[in-house]
């Protein structure tokens, strides 16, 4: 009897143990995460995903910003020189792991979000949201193709073990088509993702202005390689009547205590200072933006010109950097520094009104029909930038734009000035005028080194001091790198596709820092 009883207990135990797998599905559901199904149901959640795309496609997080922009384009655009011993990129070495992380920051973090939001918005008939996502797509990918050239674009998200690259020429063509679609949808007005959109609070008409201003930026980028496309698109942008010409329409990604302006964090690390090129130009022009962009050097005036703003020549050797260069040179202005030290944690610049004026100036200079002269747009560009950055008076600005002052030596006379062009617009020599336009755009773009490096490659301006040394046999010290080498992660995970891109017509078999991009045809 007892034996039977025990058998019964055993039987019960078996049932209890094996029978309760029915709640396994519930156990294996993470209550802290969202399924894609939940995301598809809610525009509010999609808006939060969209906000991530906006922030991360500008490399919002501090370390992503550092390894993608601060250590490459910011230095190669000539805004800053590095003061950290271990940062070889200022001597034109593309440190591979940084580039891998930069590539991964876009393709791994931003691109999936852009696609997700665009797809979900399209599927749910949210045409405004879809158009906004398209604009973010063009903005994000143009920055990546401007770094590397051919990149995976049209086949992004194919879920395969090989993702083909698109030629930059095809990508740019698609950008213009995409902007057509977006602009057309946005022209209906209305809003989407209002609670989450970090750029315009969901306002469709403002988004259309960004779409058309991006069109203008990209149109000028292809000026040398495809003049007719450039002219058509630039004039289309102008005739839309929807350009960002007033700073109140500036495209910026708002920041907060958690998602900060990355510059605010990394300036705190004391690893770069104002470049010698910056000092030469700002000091020479007596430019009031010098005091807004930078701080006096902690050690004061060291070159004997009586002005305590000091720039460091780029490309210093490790031995020179072995002694601290920070105190002797100007840090960025406190405005861009840590909040606790008086920083303002400003929004992240995507596209400013002043840039649009300079783009129109160049377009006019090239004979495009953009409703004004190169000189008028050049001067209005300076005015818009001065006003929003310094609050200078109209009279001061007028004096500045008519000034014949030229850049000066950065080291008190030992080294000549970086350039001899004045601010006053040259109406007789188009090349000098172009140098003036791009140099002023370079000043206005600050601290957007990503765009400034692209334009420096395309136009050759502003002129920069040669590096103290180059460690890169392909890029001599009096040149700047023309592109980024493809990352090692692509060779290991997407080898066939990246090799095909290298042997494509646009790169001609060369994957070097000196290999020119498709649009770099001046």
């Amino acid at each position: 009897m007892k034996y039977l009883f025990s058998k019964f207990i055993l039987f019960v135990s078996l049932i209890v143990l094996v029978g309760c797998t029915e709640d396994f599905e519930e156990i294996n559901t993470n209550p802290l995460s969202l399924s894609t199904g939940k995301l598809a149901e809610s525009q509010v959640l999609q808006g939060q995903a969209f906000a991530q795309a906006q922030y991360t496609s500008m490399m919002g997080l501090h370390w992503r910003f550092q390894i993608s922009q601060s250590l490459f384009s910011d230095l190669w655009a000539g805004y800053y020189a590095t003061t950290a011993v271990g940062f070889d990129s200022d001597r034109f070495t593309q440190v591979g792991r940084w580039a891998d992380l930069a590539w991964g920051s876009f393709y791994g973090i931003s691109a999936p979000q852009i696609k997700l939001v665009e797809d979900l918005a399209r599927e749910s008939g949210n045409t405004i949201g879809e158009a906004m996502a398209k604009v973010v797509r063009v903005n994000g990918y143009h920055r990546i193709t401007d770094y590397w050239g051919p990149i995976p674009y049209s086949q992004y998200g194919n879920e395969e073990l090989s993702v083909p690259y698109d030629l930059q020429s095809d990508i740019y063509q698609n950008f213009f088509t995409t902007l057509d679609e977006a602009s057309s949808a946005l022209s209906a007005g209305g809003s989407s993702f209002a609670g989450s959109d970090r750029m315009y609070g969901g306002n469709a008409s403002k988004w259309r202005k960004l779409a058309e201003s991006l069109r203008l930026r990209l149109a000028m980028r292809v000026k040398y390689v495809n003049p007719s496309l450039s002219k058509t698109q630039a004039e289309k942008a102008f005739s839309s009547g929807a350009l960002i010409t007033d700073p109140s329409d500036n495209a910026t990604v708002s920041t907060d205590g958690t998602n900060r302006n990355p510059l605010e964090t990394i300036t705190d690390w004391g690893e770069f200072r104002m470049s010698a090129t910056m000092e030469s130009i700002l000091k020479g022009y007596g430019d009031p933006r010098m005091q807004v962009y930078f701080d006096p050097a902690a050690a004061g005036d060291s070159d004997g010109d009586g002005i305590p703003y000091e720039g460091l020549q780029n490309g210093q050797t490790k031995v020179t950097l072995g002694t601290s260069q920070n105190a002797g040179h100007s840090d960025v202005n406190v405005f861009y520094r840590d909040v606790a030290k008086g920083g303002k944690n400003p929004p992240i610049d995507v596209l400013r009104a002043s840039e649009v004026h300079f783009l129109l100036a160049e377009a006019a200079l090239a004979g495009y029909n953009v409703g004004g002269s190169a000189k008028s747009y050049y001067e209005s560009g300076i005015k818009v930038s001065m006003k929003e950055r310094t609050g200078a008076s109209d009279a001061d600005i007028a004096a500045y734009t008519s000034s014949l002052k030229t850049p000066v030596s950065f080291d008190g006379g030992t080294t000549p000035a970086v350039s001899s062009i004045p601010v006053k617009f040259n109406e007789s020599n188009n090349e000098i005028a172009l140098e003036q336009i791009i140099t002023q755009k370079w000043l206005a773009l600050f601290p957007n080194g990503w765009e400034a490096w692209a334009e420096a490659r395309r136009t050759g301006y502003p002129r920069q001091y040669p590096r103290a040394a180059s460690d890169n046999p392909d890029v001599p010290k009096d040149k700047i790198p023309a592109r980024m080498i493809y990352t090692s992660s692509e060779f290991t995970t997407n080898g066939e596709a990246v090799k095909a891109a290298i042997s494509s017509s646009e790169l001609g078999g060369s994957d070097k820092n000196s290999t020119k991009l498709w649009w770099n045809k001046k």
């Binding site: 025990s6 207990i9 055993l10 019960v12 078996l14 209890v16 143990l17 094996v18 309760c20 797998t21 029915e22 709640d23 396994f24 599905e25 156990i27 294996n28 993470n30 802290l32 995460s33 969202l34 894609t36 959640l45 939060q48 995903a49 991530q52 950290a84 011993v85 070889d88 070495t93 440190v95 591979g96 792991r97 393709y107 791994g108 999936p112 990149i151 995976p152 998200g157 194919n158 879920e159 073990l161 993702v163 989450s196 907060d256 205590g257 958690t258 998602n259 705190d268 690390w269 004391g270 690893e271 490790k318 031995v319 072995g322 002694t323 909040v339 606790a340 992660s489 995970t493 997407n494």
Partner: protein, 1009 residues
């Protein structure tokens, strides 16, 4: 529903505990001695029928309750086991014959004790003697180093109470753990072994292969370390006190130059974090901004400034244990108090460990109720951050410029003219630099853990042949950690910071086991078991980060500049049913079969079951065949096992995470579309022999295991939409041999000398990864990445290396530096050893015991990240070469390399910064041989004889002097290759600002009342 299920399980327990009958039990006692009459303390006495057991005391005495007709099994490591049938006597003295280890009793699965002769797979009883004396400061498991054939133990750098990484028979799991499972009293540990008290341990045995997995589940397929804790003894009462005081010091440090100080290019700079300055001499080198450091600071060598940073570590362990018992109930109570201070100042531990084990025999021995509760409370101050974390003080201590005086650096802070407390450092606000004394005083943390382990089991002897065990066990840990960063902790917390973590993790097992044990005939014995297990693992926690402090140096959540919080959760449930059986013929031929099915919550519901099995055979040939006379005993054994495994929770669907600041981000890994359970198959063949009148024992094992269908992440083109995807793949093979040889060299009554050798060689090979995937890399940083290549052994380390021509000569740059590859494309080595070995010598002479253990590791490579940084900082001894006149590659440095072209002389600063440093070091230039031989343990003890204790309250007194890790007999690397910075597989062979391993010397006193 689940609560109802649990309630049912407990209902079973209660129902089972009612309604049984008493029979005649009485106390049996006696003394266990060796064949010379010397008492054997710690011998095991088990009543075969009830499985109740005890161990002998210091004088070899035991008391146990048994019935007439029951069988006592008396065993002791290294002695032949004896069986005695209880008749009408109440006293049985037993003299064990030494030598025949094959009659050892081995604790196997579920706490079941089996005779070693029955086992079909390799198991090694660890000589656990001295484990409660030598007491490694880091981790209890470190005391197995050198004693188990093939065990590889690496220590992490958290300081006192660090995790260790233990591997038997090679790494096999690509994405998971290759570490063995710990079983305590038949119950798997959910947490780790670090905080268990060695005083509570009665015995340890190690199952090296995966054969135990059928009984413990998939987690045992890396082997199992089986611990039995002490129990009370019927009819006795004893109190034991064990006190150990241990001191430890670093046993290896980098070799520094002492000729040049701070600066660059031969020019002094008080800001510099490098030592490329001018030659050290008497001149003034004032670097401090502190008003408290006045006067001149000579620019002179401070050869000991790194060594000065370390303290002598101290550890004081006190244990009191009480064992008592009657025939109906036995009790073991132990309390251990540990106080430890590490070699890094401020790194301290206080631990209380209370252990209570009660065994009740009821219903005339038919029903046994056993319970154990172990409560462990630990407080760790300033657990060391690892790797290149900015709050790892070793990062800063190792990098002290050569002219920095300890007395100045010790003044780690000052008040500036504005009244702010500032860090006193030569390069204020450096990204990655800090005064190490600031770090240990101003980057503080406190870790509190409360852990409760326990079980209750009921065993009911249904009839003579059939018994049922029902058991429930938990391992629950509550963990809190608080980190306090003071203002001016550069970069990581300029405005101070306060971080907290709170978590709870639980492992809960419910088991039943029905055992049928019968001698079918005189020649045939049968043991059959059917069991079930329900396992729940659950953890959840919250981390907070203040994001800076509003009011300086007040560490409270309410003082946050930008408070963020994150939360995690993990839950898994596995149900299992299994059976295992053993059929014995003439006590000399045994067949073992096991079968198990698991149902796991982490697998797709429609395919959540996986089955595995093992089969084994052991044959005592010496009982069947006439052997040469010198062979006393010869056993052949072989077994085959296949083990399945599940995956991590929440791996089946791509989810989106909610992030602080209002973002939502898609996860970057795609789930496996068609997920199959992982499988490991292993084959094991071996023999156990005894020669020369049981003076020589040899165990030999050959094994081969293949782990296939592993679930791991494969990096995919990032533009495919995900950065990686989970795939099923892989075939990782480990093949090797293990041998344990013990020899009784001297067996005189007075003088005994035993030597035990162990040897193990493992060869791993990556046979297959996945379709189209020839290599898989993971775990990378600026220095190296870890890679698996098809056709190569497991775990190659890749880094930058020298560019070479077709003849293998190193290409040179015009400036005299070698050309370095642009990517981490050079396979610079593999950590895995060719073989591991240990030699344990044990002498006893009258009341003296002397033991020493030599531990050998041969082969493999290790690379040091610290070294690359110290090289580019101009700190290593070799960086002093050629400061005047420069160095030539291949002539002055790297003389084993041939340059492809005659190199120009280069200044060492340019040379070492081009191949060393943090961001792009050439690992090939810093790879070292990981072979070493060390004196792992040495102990000398004296046990006071009964005669000398006659007029004292003591029953026994033993005094021991114990040393661990005393010195290297040889070491080819500049670090201890055992020191790693984390237990992840990718950290093998990689040193990065690790804590030096230590030599320790301790004094141990045992008192028995």
């Amino acid at each position: 529903m689940r609560i109802v299920s649990k309630a049912k399980t407990f209902l079973c327990l209660i129902l089972l505990s009612t309604g049984f009958v008493f029979s005649q039990q009485r106390n049996v006692s006696g003394t266990v001695t060796d064949d010379q009459g010397v008492p054997l303390p710690g011998a095991t006495v088990i009543v075969q029928e009830t499985n109740s057991g005890t161990t002998t005391d210091f004088d070899g005495n035991y008391t146990i309750s048994a019935e007439d007709g029951q069988t006592l099994i008396i065993s002791f490591v290294g002695y032949a086991t004896q069986e005695i049938t209880v008749s009408n006597s109440s006293s049985y003295n037993v003299a064990l014959q030494s030598g025949n280890a094959l009659d050892e009793v081995v604790v196997t699965s579920l706490g079941i004790k089996r005779q070693k002769r029955e086992l079909t797979y390799a198991t090694q009883n660890v000589d656990s003697e001295g484990i409660d004396e030598s007491r490694p400061n880091g981790n209890l498991v470190n005391s197995l180093q050198g004693k188990v054939a093939g065990i590889s133990i690496q220590t992490t750098s958290q300081g006192v109470s660090s995790a260790s990484k233990v591997v038997l028979r090679g790494n096999r799991s690509i994405a998971g753990s290759s570490q063995p499972l710990y079983i305590v009293d038949g119950v798997p540990l959910g947490g780790d072994i670090t905080d268990l008290s060695p005083d509570d341990i009665a015995s340890i045995s190690v199952l090296r292969g995966s054969n135990a997995a059928a009984i413990y589940g998939a987690r045992a397929n890396n082997g199992a370390i089986i611990i039995t804790t002490k129990s009370g003894q019927a009819g006795s009462f004893s109190v034991n006190v064990n006190s150990t005081l241990t001191m430890e010091t670093p046993n290896i440090l980098f070799d520094y130059q002492n000729e040049y100080g701070q600066g660059s290019g031969g020019v002094f700079s008080s800001f510099s974090t490098d030592s490329w300055g001018p030659k050290l001499g008497g001149s003034q080198a004032h670097w401090s901004f502190s008003p408290d450091i006045s006067g001149s600071i000579p620019y002179q060598a401070n050869p000991d400034n790194v060594m000065d940073f370390f303290n002598t570590g101290m550890s004081l362990a006190n244990n009191i244990s009480v064992t008592s018992g009657s025939e109906k109930m036995t009790t073991y109570f132990g309390y251990t108090n540990d106080i430890r201070t590490g070699i890094v100042p401020g790194n301290e531990l206080e631990r209380h460990n209370i252990n209570l084990k009660i065994d009740n025999n009821m219903l005339d021995g038919k029903l046994k109720l056993s319970s154990r509760v172990n409560y462990i409370k630990s407080t760790i101050d300033n657990q060391l951050a690892q790797w290149e974390s900015f709050d790892n003080p070793l990062r800063h201590a190792y990098r002290l410029p050569r002219n920095i005086r300890t007395q100045d650096a010790e003044v780690f802070e000052f008040v500036d003219s504005s009244g702010n407390v500032k860090q006193n450092y030569w390069k204020p606000r450096d990204n990655g630099g800090a005064n190490p004394y600031w770090t240990i005083n101003r980057n503080l943390n406190e870790v509190l853990t409360d852990r409760v382990l326990g079980y209750t089991s009921l065993t009911y002897q249904i009839n003579d042949d059939l018994s049922l065990l029902v058991r429930s066990s938990i391992d629950n840990t509550n963990f809190t950690r608080e980190s306090r960063f003071y203002n001016d902790s550069y970069i990581i917390a300029d405005n101070g910071n306060y971080q907290t973590s709170n978590s709870r993790s639980l492992e809960w097992n419910n088991d039943f086991l029905l055992t049928y044990d019968k001698d079918l005939s005189d020649n045939l014995s049968l043991n059959l078991n059917i069991g079930g297990n329900n396992r729940v693992n659950k953890s959840k926690g919250v981390n907070t980060n203040n994001g800076g402090l509003n009011a300086p140096n007040i560490f409270a959540l309410s003082n946050a500049q930008n408070l963020t919080a994150s939360q995690f959760i993990s839950e898994r449930e596995v149900n299992s049913l299994y059976g295992f059986g053993n059929l014995g013929y003439k006590n000399a031929l045994f067949v073992d079969l096991t079968y198990r099915s698991d149902w796991s919550s982490t697998l797709p519901v429609e395919n959540n079951r996986y089955d595995y099995y093992s089969a084994g055979l052991s044959a005592i040939l010496s009982d069947f065949i006439t052997m040469p006379s010198f062979i006393d005993f010869f056993k052949l054994r072989g077994s085959l096992a296949e083990v399945g495994n599940d995956t991590n929770p929440y791996s089946l669907e791509r989810l989106a995470n909610l992030e602080s600041g209002g973002f939502i981000s898609l996860q970057t890994t795609a789930p496996a579309s068609d997920l199959r359970p992982e499988k490991t198959t292993s084959l094991e063949l071996g023999f156990d022999t005894t020669f020369f009148n049981q003076r020589v024992n040899l165990d030999f094992t050959y094994y081969k295991s293949n782990s296939i269908d592993q679930l791991f992440r494969q990096d995919v083109p990032q533009a495919s939409g995900v950065t990686s995807k989970f795939i099923n793949g892989g075939d990782i093979q480990n093949e090797g041999i293990e041998a344990v040889l013990s020899v009784g060299l001297l067996t005189n009554t007075d003088l005994k000398w035993d030597v035990t050798f162990n040897y193990a060689a493992n060869r791993s090979e990556v046979i297959r990864l996945a379709e189209g995937l020839e290599s898989l890399s993971y775990g990378g940083d600026f220095m190296r990445r870890y890679q698996l290549d098809v056709g190569l052994p497991w775990g190659s380390i890749y880094s930058r290396g020298f560019e070479r021509d077709a003849q293998g000569r190193v290409l040179m740059n015009a400036n005299g530096t070698p050309v370095i590859t642009s990517g981490q494309s050079v396979n610079i080595g593999n950590f895995n050893p060719d073989w591991l070995g240990g030699i344990l010598n044990s002498f006893s002479y009258k009341n003296f015991n002397f033991r020493f253990l030599i531990d050998i590791r041969q082969g493999g490579e290790v690379v040091s990240f610290t070294k690359t940084i110290l090289a580019s900082d101009g700190l290593l001894a070799e960086t002093a070469i050629g400061r005047q006149g420069g160095i030539r590659f291949g002539t002055d440095v790297y003389t084993n390399e041939t340059p492809a072209s005659s190199p120009t002389a280069v200044d060492p600063e340019t040379f070492w910064t081009s191949i060393g440093g943090r961001n792009s070091p050439a690992g090939e230039a810093f790879v070292e041989d990981a072979s070493n031989i060390r004196l792992r343990e040495m102990s000398l003890s004296y046990g006071f004889g009964q005669s000398s204790l006659q007029n004292t309250p003591f029953e026994n007194v033993k005094l021991s002097l114990v040393g661990r890790n005393l010195f290297f007999l040889s070491n080819n690397a500049s670090i201890d290759p055992e020191a790693i910075h984390g237990t992840a597989t990718a950290n093998d062979g990689y040193e990065a600002f690790s804590l030096p391993t230590t030599r320790s010397i301790g004094l141990n006193l045992k008192l028995g009342f």
